[in-house]
Symmetry: D2
Subunit: 109 residues, 4 copies
């Protein structure tokens, strides 16, 4: 019995509809979406770049950055799920397989 670890189905459907309603499908090649994902990760990283590790724990609590970090995390998630979706990759299955590999590569203490 496989357990679902990350259920992306509802979001994939919402993103399909969002793109279709704006005629964006022609822009959403995997190559372009990989670039867009990069751009959003860059914006996320900028929140952390001048903060110490200790300060970084507070980024989602501090009123100055809380909303910003939520939005950038969401943007990364949107492009990641969209990219997997247009590629036809089952992200949940990919994650489960990768965790098995990771557990072999890094055995528990």
């Amino acid at each position: 019995m496989k357990q679902t670890l990350l259920d992306t189905k509802a979001l994939e459907k919402a993103l399909d509809e969002f793109a279709d309603a704006r005629d964006w499908r022609r822009f959403h090649s995997p190559k372009n979406l990989a670039m867009a994902l990069t751009g959003e990760v860059g914006e996320l990283v900028e929140i952390f770049q001048w903060r110490s590790e200790q300060e970084s724990w507070l980024v989602a609590q501090s009123p100055e950055t809380a909303e910003h970090v939520r939005q950038e995390l969401a943007d990364v998630a949107l492009y990641l799920v969209r990219l997997a979706s247009v590629l036809g990759v089952d992200l949940d299955a990919a994650i489960r397989d990768k965790l098995v590999l990771n557990a072999q590569k890094y055995p528990p203490l």
Copy 2:
């Protein structure tokens, strides 16, 4: 009634256990995880960099790249969900809020 778009709960729990079993919690500051996310996105992008947009559609089908792209997508997802989790950000709620903002910014045709 809010609909869940991306259910991350089972994965967050699995990642907590994975990190704890390896004493990795001390490495998993938000700052470090944001960097790790960047690194994984870099590896994902490398798959696409010399391929045309048209070729990029085939990346998950071609035997040469199918497994590689699945693994890199998984790695990005793992660090994204882990980062949101240690920050205490509800990624699903963040996504729903962001889609509302996006729909306002880019009205349907």
Copy 3:
């Protein structure tokens, strides 16, 4: 006789003075600068993400993007040279060595 391929000395000095005049040295750890470099590359990539390869050739000519792409290229260069500088890496020597390795890995046709 070694030929200089990328002369960074004047820029390294200018960046030292710039940082010192603003008391930024305490922020400019290699880790933080690597993140800042990422952020700037993300901004650069955003210019290209929805453009086709063919359109991408015109980015520095089009009035809409010419100044933007110049600024983002400059930002990436600034952080790259700063990062090498604080690490004490001779970027020119590193480049010369890497070109030798690349020529061995990819022999000319």
Copy 4:
């Protein structure tokens, strides 16, 4: 009189010859080079991701990482200079202009 801050001419010429000798010009669209730059920055960031800020200062001295970080810095520089070159952007002039803007935005203390 303008002072050159980053002299890229010799490297641009070397990269032109390198690409031509391998028939790589057809791959080196600005869009593709921006992606390649991202990939290399990702590899550079991976060196720093689990190291503390304090440890990051030692990355170019430690035998474990010294050669690796030199190579990744070089790779980033190669793609950055190549990208500016194919776009026809004078990186040195762009840098000088950007430093003027930065000095206005962040006045010295």
